[in-house]
């Protein structure tokens, strides 16, 4: 796999790796294999997604109806059946979900790029065949870039995670020593400290096993016994620290509570064992209001200690896979396209 394309590479189509592709007059790209397979180009897939959305989602749509809606000659039921199946599977919330969401987010720009390839200056002075090959090459390159970009963004996200962990540990460690009394004055500063506590639980699965409590002699025992249920939370969390626009799925079942200054990690299903420990867990209610992070990452506050802010009763999955509200506003031109698969995804997540 090449990771780099030198700018002035001559456009020869090295076909030893790929089957040759021809463009039929229906606009489909078919391979010239003995067994002709359809290539799902970005554009074609886009139309597919549109059609599916029109039909009410991947569950409601059938290959037959999709075929009708798409109206692409040469597209058979067979093609659509397998593609639809893959599409449905792709909607499942699992670890790769965030990759998909990055892809979705890039879809519009990818399309635009693709459209512009044909008109780039590289096309001048070439015959049809050369142009076609150049287009294919560029397209391929673009897909590579897209793939790599996803991986790179994720890598960056993981790295940020390690920073947060360290910072979190430092914070918790320092404050454990000082205890809680000196932190009454944390109120005014809680708007800042509050940021950190919100912050830690948001994106990164490994935080779930941190599970720290202030003054924690019982810590180790508690952590050990609860690791199992805490890890469950991992599945629901998509740690993509990407953009504001592309669907970020933050888990808001798990959220750190401020114990004055120490943060703790609580998940809803573990409420019961916590109730006994209420002397260790405190809530800093005012900091909720002034918390900038929650605006973006849309966590649900979780109150133990007898108080409840009404969200505790949420189903396990309900909060975790929702389309984040702070998705930045896009012009009306493309939003449905990008968002509808996500909406379907969330409903499927809940079913899951």
């Amino acid at each position: 796999m090449e990771r780099m394309f030198p700018p002035k590479k001559p456009s020869t189509m090295n076909s030893h790796d790929r089957p040759m592709c021809v463009q039929g007059d229906s606009g489909l790209v078919l391979t010239t294999d003995p067994k002709p397979r359809l290539r799902w180009t970005v554009e074609l897939h886009e139309r597919f997604v549109d059609a599916v959305a029109q039909l009410g989602g991947p569950d409601k749509a059938t290959p037959k109806t999709i075929m009708r809606v798409m109206g692409v000659k040469g597209l058979t039921l067979y093609h659509l059946k397998s593609h639809l199946q893959k599409f449905r599977l792709g909607k499942q919330p699992h670890k790769d979900f965030n990759e998909h969401s990055i892809k979705e987010g890039m879809r519009a720009s990818a399309l635009e790029l693709q459209r512009n390839i044909g008109s780039s200056s590289a096309m001048i002075g070439r015959n049809m065949n050369e142009m076609q090959m150049e287009v294919q090459r560029r397209l391929h390159e673009q897909l590579e870039v897209q793939k790599n970009l996803q991986l790179r963004i994720e890598a960056q996200g993981k790295y940020m995670q390690s920073i947060l962990e360290k910072a979190y540990h430092t914070l918790a460690g320092e404050n454990m020593g000082t205890g809680m009394k000196g932190m009454g004055g944390g109120q005014g500063s809680s708007s800042d400290m509050g940021v950190m506590k919100e912050f830690c639980s948001l994106n990164y699965p490994s935080f779930q096993d941190l599970n720290l409590y202030g003054g924690g002699e019982n810590l180790e025992g508690f952590m050990a016994s609860n690791t199992e249920s805490v890890f469950e939370g991992k599945k629901r969390i998509c740690s993509y620290s990407g953009s504001g626009k592309s669907p970020l799925i933050w888990s808001d079942d798990l959220r750190l509570q401020d114990l004055g200054t120490t943060s703790s990690c609580i998940s809803p299903e573990e409420e019961d064992p916590f109730k006994g420990d209420h002397n260790k867990v405190q809530i800093s209610a005012p900091s909720m209001d002034s918390d900038p992070m929650s605006e973006i990452y849309d966590t649900k506050p979780l109150m133990v200690h007898g108080e409840s802010v009404g969200n505790n009763s949420h189903k396990k999955f309900e909060g975790s896979m929702k389309l984040e509200k702070p998705s930045p506003q896009r012009s009306p031109l493309q939003p449905e396209r990008n968002n509808s698969p996500m909406i379907n995804a969330t409903s499927m997540a809940q079913v899951n």
């Binding site: 870039v145 790295y159 626009k245």
Partner: protein
């Protein structure tokens, strides 16, 4: 597409006032200024300065402007009329916001002008700034313009109080900007958390950070393909986030020959009072661990700068056969008040060391005519675009934006204005660092299709309004609407020859 930096009134109308704002709690405009005027003998201040005089008059009189009203802010054409009526609240709010925004801009510009003048006009500046202080607020419930104006007011106040000395330290900036908010001893500690949170937010809310990192990294990857050893010297590594994705890219290519050994040398500064999330050593440890997790061969070095932050190429440890890259990130969220000499010394190293590649990411500034006031207005325009871009993506998340503004944008505004003020003519002559490199004899490296492609795809992940612009074969620029924000450019020494192995 160049923004006209004529310090006339026209430039003010180009500022984008957002309409997605909640009404400010401070609703006393239109009243207090007149209340002030009898106390001040305007003639004494503004004497010969006609434009200025008119400006103050127009502000004081609070009547229709003597200069053409902006066409595209139709609602604000008659500020005085809409002030007193309460009929259509929404429209009025927007109009009021716009008109208040305009007023703030006028005041700011007036203050900036006053600052460049004689002692008398400095007094005027003080007066204006006090007035501004009443009108503006850092708080998240205010409008973009109010918060923006708050930071600019802080910056100007700092300059006025003679803080624009030769060695401005971050701590001082802190006091100006945060003094009233965090009068605690351990506010540095608080700021660490804030900084981290704000950093995370900035990454997620806007492409500023990723644009620079990814463009530079892609260029590096292309430049060092087939190399066995790569050595990157990073001018300002901060937390090292940039290198995470580079490492991933280097380590992920499992086919073909094994990837290169990566060595990163981070320049470290001895100064204190820096806002930093991590020391350079911590960053090094983190990067080492991350590389290990990827199976990427990696070593980390630190290179201390002189106390005056000059970089000496000789203090670098070089290894035979390695491809050398100099990485220079000067944009948000990097600190803006790196002494120009320091940056120059680093980039000069490019001449001496003959690296394979120099990656430079810096903020794009408009043309620097018009002296301090021109630069001031350009800066105002610039940060207005930045604030707008954040708001456009996250209109409901005022608190998050306010945090980012407070931690990163505010200090940057203060720092860059201080620099402009201090160095005056010098800055105008220098222009951008890219130009400096060009003038120093380095030649540009063409930006590849893949890189350009990556940038466009990256922007697709964020809200509409961002664009990538190719400003020369070796330079990509991130725009917000029509305003250039930052640029990534690639350079190499003309006679660069890698030590072949």
């Amino acid at each position: 597409m160049e923004i006209d930096m004529d310090p006339d009134m026209d430039v003010i109308h180009n500022l984008h006032f957002s309409r997605h704002t909640t009404p400010s709690s401070d609703d006393d405009y239109g009243c207090n200024w007149n209340h002030w005027s009898p106390l001040v003998n305007w003639d004494a201040f503004t004497g010969s300065h006609d434009d200025f005089h008119n400006l103050i008059d127009s502000i004081v009189s609070d009547g229709p402007a003597e200069y053409p009203s902006p066409d595209d802010h139709a609602a604000s054409n008659s500020p005085s009329a809409s002030i007193t009526e309460q009929d259509d609240e929404d429209e009025e709010t927007a109009a009021a916001d716009d008109s208040k925004g305009l007023r703030l801009v006028h005041l700011l510009m007036a203050a900036a002008e006053a600052l460049t003048g004689t002692t008398k006009s400095r007094e005027l500046a003080r007066v204006i700034l006090v007035r501004l202080k009443d009108l503006v607020s850092h708080a998240s419930h205010g409008s973009n313009m109010e918060r923006l104006a708050a930071y600019f007011t802080d910056a100007l106040r700092g300059l006025l109080e003679g803080a624009g000395g030769a060695h401005n330290h971050s701590k001082h900036h802190y006091n100006i900007t945060y003094g009233s908010h965090h009068p605690r001893d351990d506010h540095h500690h608080h700021h660490q958390n804030d900084t981290l949170a704000a950093f995370q937010l900035l990454q997620d809310m806007s492409p500023y950070i990723k644009f620079g990192h990814f463009t530079a990294n892609q260029a590096i990857l292309e430049a060092v393909v087939h190399e066995r050893r790569v050595h990157i010297v990073d001018y300002d590594i901060m937390e090292g986030v940039q290198w995470a994705s580079l490492m991933q890219a280097l380590a992920s290519d499992k086919t073909g020959p094994p990837g290169p050994h990566l060595r990163i040398t981070a320049l470290s500064r001895t100064g204190t009072g820096r806002r930093s999330i991590a020391t350079v050593q911590e960053t090094g440890r983190r990067l080492t661990a991350f590389a290990a997790s990827l199976g990427q061969p990696f070593t980390f070095h630190q290179c201390r700068l002189d106390p005056d932050e000059t970089f000496k190429p000789s203090s670098l440890k070089l290894v035979r056969g390695e491809a050398l890259v100099l990485n220079c990130m000067l944009n948000l969220p990097h600190l803006s008040y790196r002494a120009p000499d320091s940056i120059a010394s680093f980039l000069s190293g490019a001449k001496e060391l003959k690296p394979r590649l120099v990656t430079l990411v810096e903020e794009e500034v408009g043309s620097s005519v018009g002296g301090f006031v021109g630069r001031f207005m350009d800066s105002l325009h610039h940060y207005s675009a930045v604030f707008d871009s954040l708001e456009a993506g996250f209109p409901m998340q005022g608190r998050a934006r306010a945090l980012v503004e407070r931690v990163f944008l505010g200090p940057r505004i203060v720092g860059s204005l201080a620099r402009v003020y201090r160095t005056g003519e010098e800055v105008e002559e220098r222009g951008s660092w890219g130009e400096w490199l060009g003038a120093a004899g380095l030649r540009g490296v063409p930006m590849s299709f893949a890189n350009h492609c990556q940038a466009k795809l990256l922007l697709g992940l964020f809200n509409d309004g961002y664009r990538v612009e190719e400003l020369g074969p070796n330079k990509l620029v991130l725009d917000w609407k029509s305003r250039r924000l930052l640029s990534a450019s690639l350079w190499t020494s003309s006679s660069s020859s890698s030590d072949s192995h």
